[in-house]
C-alpha cells in the first residue's frame, strides 16, 4: 500500500469514526437534559420561560461538541492537508 492510499484509508476511516462518536455521545447528553427539563416543567409550569431558555442554552453547549466532531470530519474529507500535499507531490513528480 503506497502512502497515497494509506492517507486516504486513514482519513476516511477516522472521519467515519469521528462522526459516529460525535453523534452518539451528545445525543445521550441532550436526551438526559431534555428529560430533566420536562420533569421540572411538569413540576413548575410557571417557570416554563426560564426553563425553556436554559434548556436551549444547555442544548447548544452540548451540541457544540457534536459540531466539533463534524468539523473535524469535514476537514478530513474535504480539506485534508496531508492528502493535498501528497497529491501535490505526486503531481509534481
Amino acid at each position: 500500500m503506497d502512502s497515497l492510499t494509506l492517507i486516504a484509508v486513514a482519513s476516511i476511516i477516522t472521519a467515519g469514526i469521528t462522526t459516529a462518536f460525535g453523534t452518539m455521545a451528545p445525543a445521550l447528553g441532550e436526551g438526559r437534559a431534555v428529560a430533566t427539563a420536562l420533569t421540572s416543567l411538569a413540576q413548575q409550569p410557571d417557570a416554563s420561560a426560564t426553563i425553556t431558555r436554559t434548556l436551549f442554552v444547555g442544548l447548544a453547549m452540548i451540541e457544540s461538541t457534536a459540531i466539533y466532531c463534524f468539523v473535524v470530519s469535514m476537514i478530513l474529507i474535504f480539506a485534508n492537508p496531508f492528502w493535498n500535499s501528497a497529491i501535490a507531490q505526486v503531481a509534481g513528480k
Binding site: R53, V57, E63, F70, V71, A79
Partner: protein, 235 residues
C-alpha cells in the same frame, strides 16, 4: 464541494479579494441599516404607528428583556452590542431562503471575527463597570493559581463561540447542497426549514452567551441590598 463562501471570488486585484463572504456581509449591512433608517426616521409615540415600527419595537423590547433575564441589570448599555450580534446572525440565517444567497456566517472568517468582538467587548464592559483593578482581580480570584485557567477559559470560550456558529451554518448549507444532488425536489426544502430553525437558535445562543459572559465580567462582588438575580419568580 465548496466548503465556505470564501472560495467564491467575485473580483481580485493583486492580493485584495472580494469574495462571496464580504459581498453578502455588505448586502446584509446595507439591508439592515437602510431598512432601520427608513422605518425609524419618523417615529410616532401615539397608538397610530406603522407596522414596521411595531415590528422593530417588538424586536428591541424582547432583546432587552432577554438581556435583563440573563443577569445584566441595565440592559440599555449592552443592547447595541448584543442586539447587533443577534440581528446580524439572524438576518444571515433568514436570508438563506433567497436563492443564490450564502450565509456569510458559514465562513470561519465571519464567525471568528464576531467571536473576537465578544472577546474584546467582555473586558471593555468589565473594566467600564468595575474599574481596571477590580476587573483584573477577577482573574486571580479565588486564588492566584487560577490565573492560567481563567485565561485559557477566555480563549476557549471565544473559540467555542466561533466554531459552534460556523459548524451549524456550514452544516446546514452543506446538507442542502448534498441533498440537491441526490433528491432535488421535496427533501431539500425540509432541510432548508431545519436550517432556518437552527440558524435562529444559533443567533439566539450566540447573543445570549455573549450576554452571559459580559454579565459574569460586570458582576460586582459587593453585597447588594436587593436580590441579585432577576430570575426568581414572584410568589
Amino acid at each position: 464541494m465548496r466548503l465556505s463562501p470564501d472560495e467564491m471570488i467575485f473580483w481580485q486585484y493583486d492580493f485584495v479579494k472580494l469574495n462571496a463572504t464580504i459581498v453578502f456581509t455588505w448586502g446584509l449591512m446595507f439591508v439592515l441599516t437602510v431598512g432601520s433608517t427608513l422605518v425609524t426616521h419618523k417615529l410616532s409615540r401615539d397608538l397610530q404607528r406603522s407596522h414596521w415600527q411595531n415590528l422593530l419595537e417588538i424586536v428591541v423590547t424582547s432583546i432587552e428583556k432577554q438581556i435583563e433575564e440573563v443577569g445584566l441589570s441595565q440592559p440599555r448599555k449592552y443592547l447595541a452590542f448584543i442586539g447587533t450580534i443577534f440581528l446580524f446572525i439572524a438576518a444571515a440565517a433568514l436570508c438563506t431562503i433567497i436563492p443564490g444567497f450564502q450565509a456569510p456566517t458559514g465562513s470561519l472568517s465571519t464567525t471568528v471575527a464576531l467571536a473576537l468582538c465578544v472577546l474584546v467587548a467582555v473586558p471593555l464592559f468589565g473594566i467600564g463597570e468595575q474599574g481596571l483593578g477590580g476587573y483584573f482581580k477577577t482573574y486571580v480570584s479565588p486564588t492566584v493559581i487560577m490565573l492560567p485557567f481563567n485565561l485559557i477559559s477566555e480563549v476557549s470560550r471565544t473559540l467555542a463561540l466561533a466554531v459552534r456558529l460556523f459548524g451549524n451554518m456550514m452544516s446546514g448549507s452543506m446538507i442542502i447542497a448534498i441533498l440537491l444532488v441526490i433528491t432535488p425536489f421535496i427533501f431539500p426544502i425540509v432541510m432548508t426549514l431545519l436550517g432556518l430553525l437552527t440558524g435562529m437558535v444559533q443567533a439566539y445562543i450566540f447573543s445570549v452567551l455573549a450576554a452571559v459572559y459580559i454579565a459574569a465580567a460586570t458582576r460586582t462582588h459587593q453585597p447588594k441590598p436587593e436580590t441579585e438575580s432577576g430570575l426568581a419568580p414572584d410568589v
